[in-house]
Symmetry: C2
């Protein structure tokens, strides 16, 4: 619940507004976080410039500055190191868990005990999925799904409780390992981004008070601004660890995740991802000697497609353009279906934990049946004589799975589908394998991946989207390559890479970051111009239909994400048109009873403080005080017996640390504060604790311009002052919710049909019925 | 001259300020642009929300939106295409000009006519330099130097006349070709960035009115916001074309050039650089058949160092760390020296055009002597038996230059120094040549490059810094590689790449963009982790001493560049402490004579408009009007005979296009407007043309917070309003200059010794004497 300036009928300070407005901001202040509905709140990025903080700040010496700078870099180092190790461990665990499962199953298949093989396969999948779903649903529902929408919303200024707790961290890591190992078509990149953000936030919180693990040097990070920077670095580290793509991870954080960016932050994030890269490199060096079980050289995804000579000419461009166009179309359809499926799943999930878990189990069973059943449709093929590796592949990953085939033969569909996703991608990207797959197998695989990944995402378990989209796109690209055949100089592996790019572009809608991630994944810089073209085309095509997949999910979940650009109709409105009243005010010296009453009866997070005669000549706006600060004052009982202003030095018992923002989810509750009758009759001097220079706009400013200010500066509250100095020095408060298009359009329904909207094509009605 | 609110003694509207301040903003409003001193001005990024524009905006239909969007992308396409072609042509011209020069000289050397060879060599260098210096000094002094500081300042909101004219464009291209061909140690990347920005700006201006080449569809780009976006794309295209590094160019624009960035812009810049990449690829394909003279396969810099296996282990890390550290130190020293040399050169250049040209000529002669003379110091070496190429190299580029040596021998220093910079870099980066160079040659080459590039930059000709820094860094890295020798697994070519990275990091202080540019240049992704480490170390070390080279140059040139972060002492000041008075105001309905007088006697660019009784109950701030708009009103003679407000429809003779911002350097001058005595007695209704919702801050807001608003929203004027509504509704105007540290410190000298300054080490006093 972000503070919006609505009030209750019994408000003590009578509203004395010139523009009395009755509309109440109705935009939701709860959102679906992970798999549960939670109240959400805005973050404070504004510097609260009150006398108290200013004094604390003046007393800081050189030592404190040094501590702060040192800690900033140390934390980035720790984030990079820990995320690197966790990313490695997740891969190690997945490779070994899934590897053992496939080895055991394959051995049984070799002995032609097919029924037993299916049982082992499906039961182990079922068990792993069940475990992941159980811990997610029971221990931490916030860790369901990819987590990227939640982190993205956090970086935009929306705080959801529980997304960055230790509990979420553990569930996310273990759940992600189980879900991926259980052959569900889900990825580990999204969960790793959430893990990275989580680690960053926990480190920045200064350890845990409960376990006595807090460190004094961390106190400077107890505010939302510094924590936001850390979380940005953490999310960059996540992608860097998932794909071993340090530059790509950094760009991902920059392009997709972060809402505010400074070049100083770019540097720190670069440092973080460099640490990740080095840690991964060192750990993989350790594994090269074969001590890591089934985790081999290619364990961490790194689909090396270096070919000595990527020669392409002008004739290769038209097929690539076509590939990009269709990829974009399929990608936007993917987003469309995914959103619909999520809506259906939410209906199921709402019914209770049992429903959530049953849903997850059904998906697991369905997946196992498909993965085991479909390869039987494919006919066995004779091993090629010039294969670069053993054929059929037995007991390890490789291009040629034997499955049910006789010796000397392989099952091409099983090589893709009865395999880990990473190996499937590797097979699709591999060069010199242009004749390996049949049309029917590739088509079956593509269709299966497309729909299975849509169905798998919404279950109550950590589940990423990157890898499913890559594997679907790669099979699509391979298909296009086979159709074009010898009309192109590009081999089918390169087509698969371009197909993955087109699908990623069509669904995630990033450009630079995807381009760099794919280049780092495939280690082939010569493909760059074609990759750029494909990404541009697919994004352009897809943008004509709907938005970025994460934005769609965020919207469906109800996060009030603030866009950079103002909707065109916002230019036609003034802030006075959307600000809602009546307004809740405090006086510079306020009775304790009043403060308590207001805090109890409203859920606002910011209150304007005004000074009135006799304390000043005429009423004027002194500033803005935060609910959290009021609460702290009440808790510390910093009361006065008489309503006279006091010196700031009188507040000796209060230290600046009391006012620092604690970790996500730790709030004082007004209900917990006990005050005697006597105390209720005393007074609070709010002046030293009021932010005396809040940002203000005049009520006649257009909403679009106010949004620019609000968004660019990263505000939580924006005070609206009257054009002509009248009775009241403040007209209202704008918060995040007042800028939400839904809220604005609800207030001004005539704008819905405004021609100044973003142009977008609609999918045909038939699809709409879905 | 940005508008600051100082006034003149005879100001007609008497200042009625509560806080009368006498200090006048003394920060310079001229800067050195290229090689000349010019007045500078701020750009208007704020949306001027006046009734007139609002009405014009409401009348725009779907067609106009389509035109705008279409043109946005078409312009990016054109920018990419044109910059790609120009970049190719520059390379083609340089390779052929310098190539012919070296071939002719080498032929004479083969015939042992050394004197003649020197004469041809030095005279052709002299002629080319003289020509470049002459056209630069006489035709367009704004095109001297790299241009990156100027473009960076433009993107920060500082407009210098002449930087984006057709004339500058031509001089920059031709001058750059001549300067680079003349063997001066200057680069072509910087000039290409300026060229790209120039092309973008010219395209956005809607052609040239003088030559009847304007297009109606381009009218939506006649404002500073859209032009800024185009220039950002143009500068990205510049680096993309210079290094054939599309992603690197984009990141360069993002990290180093742009002050404001939106993800929509990221996408458009990505598109632009993709076009560049494709155009270059296509043109190089054409040249592969050998039709481009001496411009061969490797003509466009692309130092391919792909080695099948870059194996490095933990033992390789310490030398790399050391390399980064020393590289950072040398890089910051490089910046230090360069700035000192530029100061000395400016003293010479100030004396007149003749002095500038003589200076350039001396540098050319000095360079020729060094390049031809130094190789004689190196002893001839026997050609290696296993050389991958012909040895010695005769009549073309290659690792083994013959110079004065007998057959079967080569001169290693000549291979580096008596060569184009691109070839020298290629030789240094090449693998399998670990025994090619002697210590003495590499040391001589390194020292020569280090100081020669510092001396060459400041001459009156287009000159970039990238290539000189890369060549110096590469020789330094090679030297380190030779010193470490067999203690490392890395070959000397890779050490040269890392050395170039450390030098770039130490001097340019970028991280991601340099990393990607170097990766794209060398086509070796496996080097990534080491590259990241080197860049981080060298930047960290260098940052302890001084700033980024472009920032130093910008500061030396006097550009009021607005940093993202506020200086810590700004938190101790309120905006009231820096705003200077008296203030120049207009009334909503103002006498023409008053307006003309104020415009004649001040050089402000924005004036607050207030309404006073009898037009309103109490005086209030109506908004802010721009000088350019007032000028247009005077020119159109939109006068009223009586001081009564008029309807907006009364201004039929005025169209929105009249108020659009014209290209750089096209201004109405108040002296050109002739008004009769009668007209002077008439009135202007300023209301419809006044931006009715300017951004405002309260006078008690801290300067740091106001700076955040000013910088993030991209303002030109920020109105300061009083805390307590008193007599005046506005206290002053803040402009860019009021936030400059020099200005603030001049007003509050006590802050100079504040401990809240950025910590920086000083170079020893000995160096300071330089």
């Amino acid at each position: 619940m972000a503070a919006e300036p609505n009030g209750d009928p019994e408000s003590l300070t009578q509203p004395f507004l010139a523009l009395q407005r009755s509309t109440i901001n109705s935009t939701s202040q709860v959102a679906i976080v992970g798999a549960n509905v939670c109240p959400i709140e805005s973050l404070d990025y504004e510097i609260a410039e009150n006398d108290f903080f200013k004094q604390d700040w003046r007393t800081r010496g050189k030592m404190q500055i040094f501590q702060y700078i040192f800690m900033k870099w140390l934390l980035c180092f720790l984030i990079g190191g820990i995320v690197g190790v966790i990313g490695f461990c997740i891969n190690l665990a997945v490779e070994n868990l899934a590897g053992v499962k496939f080895v055991v199953t394959s051995d049984m298949m070799l002995q032609r005990r097919f029924g037993m093989a299916f049982l082992v396969f499906s039961l182990s999948n079922f068990g792993l999925t069940l475990f992941a779903a159980l811990i997610t649903a029971l221990v931490s529902p916030a860790s369901a799904g990819s987590g990227i929408p939640e982190v993205k919303a956090y970086l935009n200024g929306v705080d959801a409780p529980g997304i960055f707790t230790l509990r979420t961290l553990f569930v996310k890591i273990i759940g992600s390992v189980c879900a991926v190992s259980s052959s569900l078509l889900v990825g580990k990149a999204g969960p790793l981004v959430h893990t990275g953000a989580c680690i960053a936030s926990i480190l920045g919180q200064g350890g845990s008070k409960r376990y006595g693990l807090s460190w004094k040097w961390l106190r400077y990070f107890k505010n939302d601004r510094d924590r936001r920077d850390l979380v940005t670095c953490g999310s960059a580290a996540g992608i860097a660890a998932a794909f071993r793509a340090p530059v790509g991870g950094l760009l991902f954080a920059l392009e997709e995740m972060a809402s505010w960016w400074r070049s100083a932050l770019l540097w720190r994030a670069f440092f973080t991802t460099a640490v990740v890269a080095i840690v991964l490199r060192a750990l993989i060096d350790v594994c090269l000697s074969g001590k890591c079980g089934l985790f081999g050289k290619g364990g961490l995804i790194m689909y090396d497609v270096t070919s000595s000579n990527v020669a392409y000419h002008i004739v290769d461009v038209p097929p690539v353009l076509l590939l990009g166009m269709i990829g974009g179309l399929l990608g936007s359809l993917y987003n469309f279906f995914l959103e619909k499926v999520l809506r259906v799943y939410n209906l199921i999930n709402e019914k209770g934990i049992a429903y959530k878990i049953v849903l997850a189990c059904w998906i697991s069973i369905f997946t196992s049946c498909l993965l085991f059943g479909l390869p039987w449709l494919a006919s066995c093929r004779v091993c090629p004589a010039d294969a670069g590796e053993a054929c059929p592949t037995i007991g390890r990953s490789g291009n040629y799975k034997k499955f049910q085939c006789p010796p000397g033969h392989y099952n091409d569909l099983a090589s893709l589908i009865f395999n880990t996703n990473d190996d499937a991608i590797k097979n699709l990207f591999s060069k010199g394998t242009d004749d390996e797959f049949q049309y029917s197998s590739i088509i079956i695989f593509f269709v299966t991946c497309y729909f299975l990944s849509i169905l798998s995402y919404g279950i109550v378990a950590p589940a990423g989207l990157f890898v499913p989209v890559i594997v679907t796109g790669a099979s699509y690209g391979r298909l296009v390559g086979m159709l074009i055949g010898s009309h192109s100089n590009l081999n089918h592996g390169l087509f698969a890479v371009l197909g993955a790019a087109s699908f990623l572009g069509g669904s995630m809608r990033m450009t630079v970051s995807l381009c760099v991630i794919l280049l780092e994944l495939t280690n082939n810089l010569l493909l760059l111009p074609l990759m750029m073209v494909v990404l541009l085309i697919s994004k352009t095509v897809a943008d004509a239909f709907n938005g970025n997949i994460y934005d769609l999910i965020m919207k469906a979940k109800g996060f009030p994400y603030l866009e950079t650009h103002a909707e065109p109709y916002m230019r036609q409105l003034t802030v006075g048109d959307v600000v809602s009243g009546p307004l809740q005010l405090f006086h510079g010296i306020e009775k304790v009873a009043n403060v308590v009453h207001v805090l109890r009866t409203t859920r606002h997070h910011g209150f304007p403080v005004i000074d009135e005669p006799p304390h000043s000549e005429s009423p004027f706006l002194y500033g803005l005080i935060l609910r959290a600060h009021l609460m702290e004052l009440l808790k510390k009982k910093a009361f006065l017996s008489d309503p006279v202003p006091t010196d700031i030095d009188a507040f000796e018992q209060i230290s600046a640390e009391d006012f620092m923002k604690r970790g996500s989810g730790h709030y004082n509750m007004i209900e917990d504060i006990d005050l005697t009758e006597e105390e209720m009759e005393m007074f609070l001097d709010l002046h030293p604790f009021t932010n005396a220079s809040p940002y203000t706009v005049v009520e006649t400013m257009s909403l679009a311009k106010a949004l620019i200010l609000f968004r660019e500066v990263g505000l939580r509250h924006l005070l609206v002052i009257p054009k002509i100095s009248g009775r009241s020095p403040v007209v209202g408060i704008l918060t995040r919710h007042d800028f939400m298009p839904e809220h604005v359009l609800a207030l001004h329904p005539t704008l819905i049909r405004s021609r100044w909207k973003r142009l977008r094509l609609q999918f045909p009605r038939l699809l709409k019925l879905f």
